[in-house]
Structure formats: C-alpha cells, structure tokens
C-alpha cells in the first residue's frame, strides 16, 4: 500500500481538506535538547527523603514525642527529683491521691507514680532500642547473605529463618526465661538477648526480599562487569539500596519490642521487680485496679504513646523512602 492511496482508502465518505497549522515560533521556542537542570542543589535519596519528611505532620509529631522520650530516658532527673525506688516509698502514702509535687498520686506501696513513670522509661526504651539494633545486625546479615548468594546458602538460611519464625516471640521468651542461666541473671541485657533470638526472622525476611529485588538490578550487573567483586558489590551497591524497607520495619518493631518487654515484665518473668519499668509497674498496680486504677493507667499511657510514636515514625519513613514515589 503506497502512502498516496493509503489516504484515499482510509478517507471517509467525504474527503475533507486538512489545514496545515504551524504554531507561532515565538510562543513555542525550542529548548536545547536534554539540558542538565542546574537550578537547584543536588539531592541524594536521603536528602530528598528528609525534605519530604520535614513537611509531614505525622513525622514531626512522632519525632517530637520520640525526642521527649529520649530526653526523659537520658536525664530523668530533669523531670522528677523524687526518689521512686521502693526503699524511699512511704507506706503512709499508699494509694494516695494527687497532691502538691506528686501530680499523679501514689501507688499501693506509697511510691510517687509520676516519678516511677519517668524513671521507668529508661529500661523500657533501652530494651526496645538495643533489641532493634541487635535484630537489624543479626537478621540483616542472615537475610542479606541468603538473598544475595541464593542457592544452597539461601536454602539453609531461609529454613533456619522459617523455624525461628514459627516460634512465637512471647512464648519463646517465657520458655527461655525459665532456663536456669537466665533465671539467675535477669536483667536488661539478658532480656535483650532473648528478644533478639526470637525477633530476628522478620528483619531477615525483609532484608532477603529487598536484597533479591536489588541484586538483579542493572547497576549491580554494571558494577560486576566493571570488575567489582561479588562481596563488594553486595556491600557497596546492594545493601545501601535495600536499607529503606529495613529501616521502616526496624522502626515499627522497636515499638513492638518495648511492648514485649512490658508484657514479659507484666507476666513477672521479664525484668526483675528491682528494675523500674512500665511493665513491672502495670503488673504491681494490677492488684489494686478497682480501688486505685491510676498507678496502672499512667504507665500504660506512657507505654502507648512511646510505642505509637515509633510506629508513626515508621509509617512516615515508609512514605518518604518509598522508591515508587521518587521522581525519575
């Protein structure tokens, strides 16, 4: 079919003249093909994420709350000068109502509730933070090796992962805490260790998935064909590009580890009663729930706000780090 009769065949019943329109050159100036935009400062992925985050109310609120929690954690003395330890408590004040200098009243043991909430922050947040760090390091290594090398390495590591995934965190921790070695050494660090043992599979799976996604990217192939070794391209290219989902999940799970600590302490097998923590306080206040619910409610509120702010931070980070949302 030659072009000329093409038009006639295609033409409908009426042949219409088609006008040849040309836009005014002044109104449609030509631009240089493919010019580099130089009108703004260079932005890395993290820089761009930060710029998005700065404008998100969810991030600002959660960041503010987390900042407050961390300050309380580091310098509890700034907020309460009252000694909250059991030795300093006066039974005379048992279940006392709020009074001057004691805004939240007293527990059954006569301790200041406000001071206990403030001083309990440290152990709860420490457990959450260090468990998360441990889980990211251990789970991250396992997941990255499994995802990147594939084959039998993946088969072995992924099965180990599955076995641990099948063990419930709380149940596993309850059983482990009964072991003689942990029963005699109950403290923040033994709890962190146990939570890491049962908490790593989730991060490991996320890392494995993210690494598998990135490992086939063209830039990894490009690096390999430049002569970069396998391990180096894992460290230099694959891992940095898999970090975003890991950070998001880690932030959210930080909240759940704090909850796990409180749950275990509430059940009486987490931190020993001598360590002040929200879980322990909730547990000891449970006895007088009907007569004086306040000593239970205040640590519970503190716990909820802390956990919520970490989960909100995770959500905000997920939105900011979403690769699909990035301009191409």
């Amino acid at each position: 079919m030659t072009p000329e009769n093409n038009a006639t065949v295609r033409g409908t019943a009426v042949r219409r003249p088609i006008e040849h329109f040309v836009a005014d050159f002044d109104e449609t100036p030509l631009h240089a093909t493919d010019k580099v935009k130089e009108d703004h400062v260079p932005l890395s992925l993290w820089g761009e994420a930060w710029r998005n985050l700065r404008r998100q109310p969810l991030f600002l609120l959660s960041a503010f709350l987390i900042f407050v929690v961390i300050v309380v954690c580091l310098f509890p003395g700034l907020f309460s000068q009252i000694d909250p330890t059991s030795e300093a408590c006066q039974l005379a004040n048992s279940d006392g109502v709020p009074a001057g200098g004691h805004p939240l009243g007293y527990t059954q043991q006569g301790c200041d509730v406000f001071a206990r909430v403030i001083y309990g922050t440290r152990s709860s947040v420490t457990v959450g933070l260090f468990t998360t760090i441990g889980v990211v390091i251990f789970g991250g290594i396992m997941g990255a090796l499994a995802g990147y090398y594939g084959g039998w390495v993946d088969a072995v590591l992924a099965r180990i992962n599955d076995i641990f995934f099948a063990l419930p965190l709380i149940l596993g921790a309850i059983v482990m805490m009964q072991l003689p070695v942990f029963r005699t050494n109950r403290n923040v660090w033994s709890l962190v260790l146990i939570l890491i043992i049962f908490g790593w599979p989730q991060i490991s799976r996320i890392t494995r998935g993210a690494v598998i996604e990135v490992r086939n990217a063209d830039f990894v192939t490009a690096a390999r064909s430049l002569g970069v070794s396998r391990f180096r391209s894992l460290m230099r290219h694959v891992l940095p590009n898999s970090l975003a989902p890991i950070i998001v999940v880690a932030t959210i799970s930080l909240g759940t580890f704090i909850v796990a600590e409180s749950t275990l302490s509430f059940l009486g097998i987490g931190l020993p009663p001598s360590v002040m923590s929200w879980g322990n306080d909730i547990q000891s206040a449970q006895a007088s729930l009907r007569s004086n619910p306040m000593p239970l409610i205040y640590p519970a509120i503190a716990l909820s706000i802390t956990v919520l702010s970490f989960i909100m931070l995770g959500d905000a980070l997920r939105d900011a780090l979403d690769p699909k949302a990035r301009k191409r």
């Binding site: 030659t2 009426v14 040309v22 836009a23 260079p42 690096a223 002569g227 191409r328």
Partner: protein, 571 residues
C-alpha cells in the same frame, strides 16, 4: 453497525467534528506548586478520521488524550479551554456523564498490554465486564464474537484463559477487543504497540485499522514514533512541551515540516533512508581506500583484525517444569560471528531471539553451554580470576534502561569514579581529573558531578553510563539496547556521541538492538537473530539493500513509516 451508518450520514450533512479540543490547558498540582502540563492545545477529530498526536515523553500528548476521556490523574485538572465531544463540552462534565460516555462513545486502548489486564480474571470475564457495564448482551457467544473480531483465533477457548497465558500481541488484541467491544465512535489508542515487536506491531495496527474503518470509528492515536503516525493517520498533531507546534496532513507534515521542532524531529528520526553516521564512515572509507588498493601487499596486522570472535556459541537454560522435571530451552543456538577492531557490529532480533543472552556471554556474566568466545586471541572461558579482572577493563557494557543502570545512591562523580577506584587507577586527584575529562567527552557539564541519577533525564543518565564505560579506556563496548529507551532527539544525540567516540578513540562496538533503523545509522555489520539462531549476517548495506532471508525482509518491512521516510523522489 448502526452507529457507523449514523456517523456517515452526519458527516454528509453537517461537518461537525466528533472531538474538538480548544485552547486546552491542564495543570498538575505537585509538591513544587502547579505545573502546566498542557497549554493552548487544540485539535479536531472528524468522524471516522484517524488523528495521531506525536511527541516525546513529557510533551503532554497522553495527558491531552486522557483529559478527553476524563481520566486525568487526581492531581491534574483542566484549567482552561474546552473539550467538545460531538458538540457537548465535557471538560468539566460530571463523573456520571463521563461514565455514560466511556466505553459506549469513547473507547480506550491503553499502552502496556502487560499491566492493563487484571491477572486474576479470565480474558472473557474482562470483556464481559465491559459489555455489561454498557448494557450490551454479554453471553459467552458475544464475548467470543468480540474477541474473534479483534483477531484472536479460537476465541471461545481463549476467553477462558488468563492473561499470563497470552503473548504480548495477543493481550494487546484482547485490549483492543475491550476498547472496541461497544463500538464507540472515538477510540483513543495510547501508544498501543510501543511494547511490542515490530512485526507484531504491524499486524496489530493493520488489524486495528481494518476494524476501525469497518466500524467508522474515529481514532486518536498517541505515539512517539513519527513514522508510525504518518503511516497510520490522516492527520498528525505534533506536541512539544505541552503545546501543539504543528498540525496537518500526515504526508505533508513529514515531507514539508515548517516548525523548527518538527524539522528537528523529522531529521533525527532514524529510518532506513538514513545512512551511517558520517564521522566514522568517512574515516572508514579513507582507511580502506588508503590501505587496500594502493598497498596491495599489506602485512596481516595492518588489516583490521578480529578483536572478538564468537564460535558455535550455544546457551541452554533449564526451565523448571511440572513435577520437578526440567525442560531445556535453547536461548542461543550455534551462533558464530566476528567483530573487527574499530567497527560496529549490530545484533538485531525481536524479543526472545537470544540477542541479550549473547551479550551477557560475551561480557562473561553468563557461561556458555558450548562454543567459545575469543577476545583478542584468548578464549575468555579459560581466564582465571586475575585475567578476568583485566578482561573486564577492556570490555565494557552499556545497558538499556538508563534508570536502572546507575546506582541511585551514588552521585555522578562516584558512579564514574567507581571503575577507576576498583582497578586502582591513579590517586584521588588524578581520578577526579579523569572524571572531569570523561564528562566533557560525553558532553555533560562538570557541574553534574555532584548530582544524583534521579535528577537527570534518561539521555543524560545514558551519557553517564557511557562515561563510566569509557573510564577504563576499554577496547570493546557492548551496547545492550543502549538507545531504545530514549526519545528520538536524545537518541540521535547519543548515537552521534557514540559515533564520535568511535572515531576519536577507535572503539569497537557490539550493538544489541531490536531497532533496524538505528542499526542503519550506527553499524558496519549486522547479524540478524531469530529464536536463538543466526539467520543472516553481512555488511549493513548488503543486508538492508538486498536482504536474503524472509525473516530479515519481514523485519525491514515492518518498520513503521519505512517507505514514507524515504525522500520523495525515492518513494
């Protein structure tokens, strides 16, 4: 059929445009404020007419068409002007009215056949859904009828299959069936074939043309390919940066473009008429003229030697089948060719022809099942890890996807410096100097050094990838579809750059592509591959001027606008 008759009658009575867009302006709300995506756009589609909108990515062509069917993204809105469908202004019509119009009056064939069918529903169900939504009979026979009209053989059985059981071409046919199932008066086809191979593209477009002519449907075809637009449409509208720069009868526009942008577009569109980009060709002509005839007794070394020799290369992949049985799939079947130093050899083929697998094996990223690859006299499969490291220095790849081949975490400086650092070339200062030189060579400003890939356009990224490939002064560069993802003008720019670099640095290219028109511009030798086998090899001129194999002829014929792009006296 009744609607078609109606249209004809209307056309005879009063010439009222079916779709008329007047001074259309569309804004997008973004985090950086409002962006004008389209300004002063105007076009008319008469009943039964095919109109093509041509433009590069981001020119606003799809946005204009989507506005006509009321499917702008949620952050976009019509900020001014009118969209008249059969005399009715629908630019701000209610959602209810738009739903009435969609399907029954305005149909749509979307771009990507891979993602536009819902993978969990059978094809038949998805056709029936459309028929039902528009109140048409939707029994199994009606569905099969619609599908068979779109050219799907054995439609009754096909309707019971899922999208993953269809090839790309068949999916696109199914989408066309859905788009035309209610016999709309206007069909908007948004790049309907850009994801398909040329031969399939031709079949699909032929069929679409037959169907719409039969039904009297007007077509608004959106494409980036000027040749395709001119071949298929009565009228072509060229858009550039959100504005219509030129519109007119397709042939007239192609042969006598008046706006500078259209002129630029026409001159850089690669076609069979174009010749080998000159810089390199001149040199080639000179050297052979000087060497061959005047000095008949030349020593062997003076002749361009084969830098790369591929012998009986075969790659068999094991595909996992049912019940743990694996079936063999021969991706590359007994392929042999050689590449002379300082020349460009192109491997051409459609998707699945095994051309990329060959590239991967030449790059030593895949191990051949049998056969060997000899680079500069050494069989590459015998290299130990240290020799392989040296080999990597001499053979470099450039990949297809300019968005995927640069690490988004690395800025441009680190990206280009990486090969230098990996091979421990020079110190920090000398490496920085080298990166600056490389940026100059690929015509990127040195200020781009601190930028990140996401801030660059596709063409710029591809130039960064070229700079990275050049960093180690390689002898051979393997370009795997290196310009396929780029807009025409940018593609021309990159091809010119590659040709310049070849003549300045004496590079050898192995160019993997599906685009024969590009081959014509860049290659000295061509290898045509089909289903893993090499079907034809020869010099570019021979293969293009007198193709020997049917497959090669079919490929050449399928290039859209192949005949049109020839200068008038030839055509």
């Amino acid at each position: 059929m009744s609607s078609a008759v109606q249209v004809r009658e209307q056309g005879a009575d009063v010439e009222r445009p079916l779709l008329e867009i007047k001074d259309l302006a569309i804004n997008f709300r973004t985090s950086n404020g409002d962006v004008n995506a389209v300004r002063n756009a105007h076009l008319t589609v008469m009943p039964g007419e095919t109109v093509a909108i041509v433009g590069e990515s981001g020119s606003g062509k799809s946005t204009t068409a989507l506005a006509a069917i009321g499917l702008l993204p949620t952050n976009g809105r019509v900020a001014g002007g009118q969209i008249l469908f059969d005399g009715e202004d629908i630019s701000n019509a209610s959602e209810k009215r738009m739903i009435e119009l969609r399907g029954s009056h305005i149909g749509m064939v979307p771009q990507d056949p891979m993602s536009n069918l819902n993978p969990v529903w059978k094809i038949g169900f998805q056709v029936r859904e459309t028929l039902k939504a528009n109140g048409l009979p939707s029994g199994p026979d009606d569905v099969a009828n619609v599908l068979s009209q779109a050219g799907l053989p054995d439609a009754g059985r096909r309707a019971k299959q899922y999208p993953h059981e269809f090839s790309g071409g068949m999916r696109q046919r199914a989408l066309i069936a859905i788009g035309l199932s209610c016999q709309p008066r206007l069909l908007i086809a948004d790049e309907p074939t850009s994801a398909l191979d040329v031969t399939v593209q031709r079949q699909i477009l032929d069929h679409l043309e037959t169907m719409t002519t039969e039904l009297g449907t007007a077509v608004l075809l959106i494409t980036h390919d000027l040749g395709l637009a001119a071949e298929r449409a009565d009228k072509v509208v060229v858009m550039y940066r959100g504005q219509v720069v030129e519109a007119g009868p397709s042939l007239e526009l192609l042969r006598n473009p008046r706006h500078p942008y259209t002129q630029r577009l026409v001159s850089s569109a690669p076609s069979l008429a174009s010749r080998r980009i000159q810089v390199a060709k001149e040199q080639g002509v000179e050297s052979s003229d000087l060497l061959a005839p005047t000095e008949p007794v030349v020593v062997e070394e003076a002749l361009p030697e084969d830098v790369l020799k591929v012998q009986d290369l075969t790659k068999v992949f094991k595909l996992r089948g049912a019940l743990g049985k694996s079936t063999d799939f021969t991706a590359v079947d007994n392929v042999s060719f050689s590449v002379k130093r300082g020349t460009t050899t192109a491997i051409v083929g459609e998707s699945g022809s095994g051309k990329s697998t060959v590239a991967q094996m030449v790059l030593n990223l895949l191990t051949p099942t049998s056969g060997k690859i000899v680079f500069d006299g050494v069989d590459t499969s015998t290299l130990n890890s240290k020799q392989l490291f040296g080999f990597r220095r001499r053979v470099q790849p450039i990949f297809q996807d300019p968005y995927g081949s640069l690490d988004p975490m690395y800025n441009i400086f680190r990206t280009i410096e990486e090969p230098l650092r990996t091979h421990k070339v020079g110190n920090k200062a000398s490496r920085e100097k080298k990166v600056r030189e490389l940026l100059d060579q690929v015509a990127l400003p040195q200020s781009a050094m601190q930028r990140y890939p996401n801030e660059l356009s596709g063409g710029q990224r591809q130039r960064v990838a070229i700079a990275r490939a050049l960093a180690l002064d390689p002898e051979v560069i393997i370009c795997d579809e290196a310009v396929s993802a780029l807009d025409v003008l940018v593609q021309a720019q990159v091809l010119n750059l590659l040709a310049d670099l070849q003549s300045n640095l004496g590079l050898t290219y192995l160019f993997i592509t599906h685009d024969l028109a590009v081959v014509r511009q860049i290659a000295d030798h061509v290898c045509v591959m089909e289903k893993g086998k090499l079907v034809e090899t020869g010099s570019t001129d021979d293969v293009f001027d007198s193709p020997q194999q049917d497959y090669t002829k079919a490929l050449l014929n399928a290039i859209p606008g192949a005949q049109l792009m020839l200068p008038p006296e030839v055509a």
